[in-house]
């Protein structure tokens, strides 16, 4: 199985311009971002999975744009491992 070393960030865009900046991040292939919940309306949260290699770049970008964010999941892989363990346990 593919591993997902990285974090989920919860981002709260304040206005349309910040939303536009976030939307433009998605197609940047080198960042390998995966939006779980897309930025849509100012004040609404967006959730994005950021792989380990891009975390620094993304956080610097958000801070430079004054876009508010929180770490929603510290480690995606820890949760995935927990989920897989639960499944295996029940299958046994």
């Amino acid at each position: 199985q593919e591993t997902f070393v990285g974090q989920i960030l919860e981002i709260i865009p304040r206005n349309e311009e910040q939303i536009k900046n976030l939307v433009e991040l998605e197609p940047k292939e080198h960042l390998q971002l995966n939006f779980w919940k897309s930025p849509t309306i100012p004040g609404e949260t967006a959730h994005v999975r950021v792989p380990f290699v891009s975390i620094q770049a993304v956080k610097v970008f958000l801070e430079s744009q004054g876009i508010v964010y929180f770490i929603m999941m510290e480690s995606v892989q820890v949760l995935l491992d927990k989920k897989n363990e639960e499944m295996l346990l029940y299958q046994r």
Binding site: E2, P27, W36, K37, T40, M73, K83, E86, Q91
Partner: protein, 311 residues
């Protein structure tokens, strides 16, 4: 051990286990439930829908889950919901009345290919598995592949995107099968598509914002939504946002909810099920049952409304 109603709904399940539970359910309720095959996705797995019917072909309510592979909790809520429908018939007056006059179809896993891949190779997989010549990326987002306003604003034409719509409408057999079934049945009166994440209850339209559409029709949907909201919060206090997709989220084209609505199905809704706000797609297994139970109260309210307001 699982044969006699002891299936544990509070854990994540692989496709075969869900399928087996469907078989068990049909065996336990031979006069009420049966399996109907509606198609085969790209990798030739079965798209089996459960039909709950007290006989004949009546007006129908369709519940569809699992169109997006990575929303595991949706796939898990459907076996519990199926079991609840079957066990409540004859015991709960409301469900008994609904099933006496209507059939209920429940498709537990709309995108079985994607679901298997999400459990075997990569958890973060959402799309179908169909191949597109000339592209390195595989799969299409079945939510945006419907023949309604297809290819317009908001839809994604990058084949590697999670929300890729493909060059032509209903190219995906998962979509085409549902469209064909709905057309050939002819008496489907309600479609509720179940997703997870975000706690939303959505109604048309996605391709156009509501102002340009029939206000009376929107009022009816709002009425259903308000009743639903009360039921949803009654168990865990879970709050849902409700409204047309375009106003609540974004504008998009080729959306399933619009296709059903434009096909004359007045009760066309999308449920985005409960999460804790912290786990998203990774909602832990012990939250699956509370999610299913909370959602059920909303679904039941909607079904009651449909039964009370036929068209």
């Amino acid at each position: 051990r699982e044969w006699n109603g002891s299936f544990n709904f509070e854990t994540y399940r692989i496709l075969e286990e869900i399928s087996q539970e469907m078989n068990n359910l049909v065996a336990e309720h031979p006069g009420l439930g049966r399996k109907v095959n509606i198609g085969y996705p790209f990798e030739n797995r079965l798209m089996n829908v459960l039909k709950f019917s007290t006989g004949g072909d009546k007006l129908a309510i369709w519940l569809g889950a699992g169109i997006h592979a990575w929303e595991w909790v949706t796939q898990l809520s459907s076996p519990w919901t199926a079991s609840k429908i079957a066990s409540d018939y004859g015991n709960d007056p409301s469900i008994t009345l609904i099933l006496d006059i209507m059939d209920v179809f429940l498709l537990p896993v709309t995108n079985p290919d994607g679901y298997v891949l999400s459990q075997t190779k990569t958890h973060m997989y959402r799309k179908t598995r169909s191949k597109l010549s000339g592209s390195l990326c595989v799969g299409v987002d079945p939510k945006w592949n419907w023949d309604t306003g297809f290819g317009g604003p908001g839809a994604n034409n990058n084949s590697c995107s999670n929300s890729y719509h493909r060059p032509s409408a209903n190219s995906e057999v998962e979509v085409k099968s549902l469209e064909d079934f709905t057309k050939s049945h002819g008496e489907v009166k309600a479609i509720i598509t179940l997703h997870s994440y975000s706690q939303l209850f959505l109604f048309p339209w996605v391709y156009a914002c509501a102002e340009s559409h029939n206000f009376d029709e929107l009022e009816i949907k709002n009425e259903v939504a308000q009743e639903n909201a009360q039921s949803l919060s009654s168990l865990h206090g879970t709050t849902y946002k409700m409204g047309p997709v375009c106003l609540l989220m974004y504008q998009g084209s080729g959306g399933s909810i619009d296709w059903f609505n434009d096909s004359g199905i007045k009760y066309s809704f999308v449920f985005a099920l409960r999460d804790t706000g912290l786990y998203g797609f990774l909602l832990l297994a012990n939250q699956t049952l509370p999610t299913a139970k909370g959602t059920w109260l909303g679904l039941k309210t909607i079904m009651e409304h449909i039964q009370d307001h036929p068209y």
